[in-house]
Amino acid sequence: MTAFERAQAEVDALTALLLENGIEPRDVAPDAAPEAGPAEVSAADRLLLDAILAGETTAAPAPGRSRLVRRRVIQLAAVACAALVVLTSSTVLGTRHDAAVAGPPALMTYGSSSLAEVYAGTAPSASSALLKLADVADAQPPIATEGDQEVRAYAWYSSGAEVDGVDQKVVEPVTEKNVLRPDGSATTSQDRSSGLDVNGKVVDRRVDRATGKVTGDDLPPGTFDPAWVRNLPRDVDGMRAALLDRIGGPEACSGKDGGLDVAGCLSSELTGDVTSFWVVPPDVSATMWRTFAAEKDVYLLGDTTDRVGRKGVAVAVMEPATPDYTRADVLIISPTTGQLLSWEWLDEDPAAKGGADVAAFRAITSARYVP
């Protein structure tokens, strides 16, 4: 069963659940005029349509301007929050350890290329570096593959939460632990974690008072195939086909209509799927890097240090531009093990220091089989 077939099975189960409880799954407009048919619009939407066609609407700023405004708001919020943190620390808590910094994370620095070169498509190809990293991964001893797969990470994610009785989507630091069992069941738990310092590095959670449990979920047996990643093909063509099939096939990765291209799909699968619950054997990582090495729009950023202090080699996969953002997926790979250490989503923002905003990141701090 493909990933989309599993999703469709969930849709069918949800639909059946609603019908069993006497709830019609299709939505009904709460404000629809009784006389309005399916091919008619309300008076308000008619006015809106006329205004759009007349060029009178200004509510949708161009992405560049939107980001500029957004950036300024974030900066103001950061200044206000930072000032309050300093005030609180010095007058009430009397400690210098509550150091989580508000605002977007600082960008990391890279040894070979700038992000501007990546966005412009002028950075050097990462192909040869990826092939070297593949050789490093191949030289690692095989891993034992018995027991539960346990993946731990530190990340900044966008997630849902309730604040003061209002549902909110928030970006907050989490320390997560995902466990995948041999029967395909899984448990995921996320703790509100410590923040980042001014250099974008993780503050030790033991000295951050904000840490604490947030969420946890249990997924039933059969949810995942525990052997999926360790059974991935060890040849480039097979690996590419297997990963693209997982995301909907090559036609879903054509780069047209605002969708991802092949490199973007591979990156999406690697960061959002392969490394989420599974432990990646070294030879699978090696094949992964050889697969990326064969793709265009994969650029070398060079040596860096990830947010938990590990040396790595950064490569950037450019996603096709969308109406709202231009995004580079940055993969940071260990030069000593050939394993993926971290990934980041960096959205182009000419108004920001370094030319980009961090949309999300994840540092994999541990991935192992636990007997």
Binding site: A7, L17, L18, V28, R70, G272, P323, D324
Partner: protein, 172 residues
């Protein structure tokens, strides 16, 4: 800007799709912000009309993706407001959560209002709007596995919520 001949095509698309986007926005943001989401979404779609897919299903998914990003921006702005106001002033009460007003209604929107935003959004798109999982993953900019996980969690939560309702009605 698209040529005048495109205006009719956009109008037909708007008439067919705007009510769906409006209902989607109604389930994701407060009532006062629904008009802004719809307006911003279709203004951008019209500005980018030459780039918008011509086939119906991808065009609808493209539009919902724009709306999804508008909703994300709304949440980010709201979160900043809440954080600032929690520190600088008493909690504002001028932004009401409309979901609380409909939780006694026995319709799908009332049930979905009890889910976290990410799960509610995924379920609304595929179950209520009728997007395919592939199109919904495109809209939400996530993998099929991530979409499945959200739907699975939504189903687990709804199973408990609906069972509780049945129990309450039995005891009434």
């Amino acid at each position: 800007m698209p040529e005048q001949s495109a205006a009719g095509e956009f109008e037909s698309f708007f008439v067919a799709t705007a009510p769906q986007v409006r209902r989607y926005a109604h389930r994701m943001v407060d009532a006062a912000s629904v008009d802004d989401i719809v307006s911003e979404t279709f203004t951008l779609v019209w500005q980018r009309w030459v780039d918008v897919p011509t086939e119906e299903a991808p065009r609808r998914a493209w539009t919902f993706r724009v709306a999804h990003h508008r909703v994300q921006h709304w949440y980010e702005a709201k979160q900043r407001d809440v954080r600032l106001n929690r520190r600088l002033a008493p909690v504002r009460t001028d932004v009401a959560d409309h979901a609380a007003d409909v939780t006694d209604e026995a319709d799908v929107a009332a049930v979905l209002a009890l889910l976290p935003p990410a799960e509610r959004e995924a379920m609304w798109l595929v179950v209520c709007v009728g997007l395919t999982p592939k199109d919904a993953a495109f809209v939400l900019d996530c993998s099929a596995s991530a979409l499945t996980t959200r739907l699975s969690r939504a189903r687990q939560r709804l199973t408990v919520i609906l069972a509780d309702r049945v129990a309450q009605e039995v005891n009434r």
